[in-house]
Symmetry: C2
Subunit: 349 residues, 2 copies
Amino acid sequence: MRETTSLMLREISEQPAAIERTLRQLAGQRDEIIRLRDHQFRSVMLIARGTSDHVADYGQYIFPVVVGLLATSASPSIAVAYRARPSLEGVLAIAISQSGSTEEIVETANWAKSLGATTVGITNVEGSPLTQEVDLALVTQAGTELAVPATKTYTSALATMAFLAATLGDNQQLLDALSEAPTVMQSVLEAAWDLDGAAKLFDGASTAVIAGRGFSGGVAREIALKLKETSAINAIGLSVADLAHGPIAAFVPGLPVVCISPGKASPVAEGIREIARRAQLTGCQLVTIGDDDELAALAEVHFPVPPLREEIAPLALIVPGQLLAERVAQRHNRNPDAPGGLSKVTQTI
Amino acid sequence: MRETTSLMLREISEQPAAIERTLRQLAGQRDEIIRLRDHQFRSVMLIARGTSDHVADYGQYIFPVVVGLLATSASPSIAVAYRARPSLEGVLAIAISQSGSTEEIVETANWAKSLGATTVGITNVEGSPLTQEVDLALVTQAGTELAVPATKTYTSALATMAFLAATLGDNQQLLDALSEAPTVMQSVLEAAWDLDGAAKLFDGASTAVIAGRGFSGGVAREIALKLKETSAINAIGLSVADLAHGPIAAFVPGLPVVCISPGKASPVAEGIREIARRAQLTGCQLVTIGDDDELAALAEVHFPVPPLREEIAPLALIVPGQLLAERVAQRHNRNPDAPGGLSKVTQTI
């Protein structure tokens, strides 16, 4: 096992401060965001790849629930490969890219604008191409991210999406709750958890299933991506609702399964418990994350996370998953900061 | 190895006839579809889970390219779990469900209608709840499907989506090409392929990567689902564009990788070749599907598929994947018709 402190671990721990800085910056752009309301958008289109696509997943829930706007992801391929020309009048297009330099994402944002959309860019790099092309640039203040697996830029972008939706939806309660999220994240970082006990369950594993639903579905996909990047574990992240429609047939004894619940009172909580029960019955190695005692009782290792409103719970729920992926890499004697074949600015092939 | 002919294998072979019957049925509904044009839709919303969701994936490409309408998938969870109320005026909502009885899908279609959408249902069961609730029901004529893994109902629904888009987009050339698809599919079914050679590459595998892009991205996800259902192989199906943004770090020697190309002249062909090259360099076990000699030269086993227009190529590209999943199950001494934990009508938990 490697014992070096990784850049990834350091950047995971920087998240509360990164989000505080990001929210402070966003407060200064509040009026610009409010002016977007004049457009009377009819829907939201999300444009992203990789970790940023898991921020888009989150947008698919927060916009309908908080703003009353349907929000869905569109594949950049319809723009850059197939050159389709749908009308996008009345559409708010949100492009998300940590580097702001992924050409495909910048090109798709420009394509959306040329078809009538109003464009917002969420990126961590001030002055990047994305910031120069969109109608409104929201620049996260995570600071330079050195590890290849994104962590603090992911949660900073999540917080930006939450701020954007809460401001457009004029939801002051949610904005207040969001401002307290860094404190909750800090308590999660300081918790004394059995990370090694959980990481051990991945010894020898070549695959795993990470399951959430709704607001926490993107968290599941993001944890799966971290496991792929840091540890070459070909993990699948998906909704428990999708699991029931086929993939559950691949539950086998010994398979590591992580179930993430946004809290025991959530409308999706029972579905998550049910998948956890099936995993346990099958003899899978079960890890659970969230604020749900009934779920916790099923698990070999449970990571309790203090309750947050479900709309912003992903900010805290992701943290144990990031720490777990980093620890799994260390146990596998891999450097989590520099996965094979990846670089920090990704160009789509 | 099991030697019994499975229901799944029989149903795979019934696909050309199923699609011919479906297209004949749809021809009789042509005027009803044309009348939908009066609504002057501004976008398309797709509603599905499981295999049907891979028909929705296809819709995300064929509608923008052929009809000039943005088409994206919305999670049923925003309706049934979170009870969001976005306006859906001017939206064409297409719900897809083989059984027409998955409550969540029927409920989401009703929710869309109550918010102003016009609803179309694609299902294989005449008189099912979905057909009774939508504004226009398109019933595929695949006949009863007995194997749990969907095959002929999947391609019949794909053909229905293609017919719907080509009719709305008034694209007679595409309709003509679609009518020839069953003949091409029949030739694919009759090809003398090294299925055992390909299936052998999955011996001992607990995971795999299946990659496509654009029109063939849904085919990749569908093949991955068939491998999960029939053989408990936790395969990941995704776009080669998404692979480059992280998941490629999980390419390891020996990993089975399947690359699917819609043809050497496609705008996505080079990206698919590039991922195939990386898989080969890493020492993955590479299977390729499609009409691309350069791609074929990289593979341990290649399944050539006669060229079809890219918009309908998925109808033929899926066939080798279905046959492969069935053969992998046989090699693993599993009954592909009855995967553990699944039933033919799935209710979301």
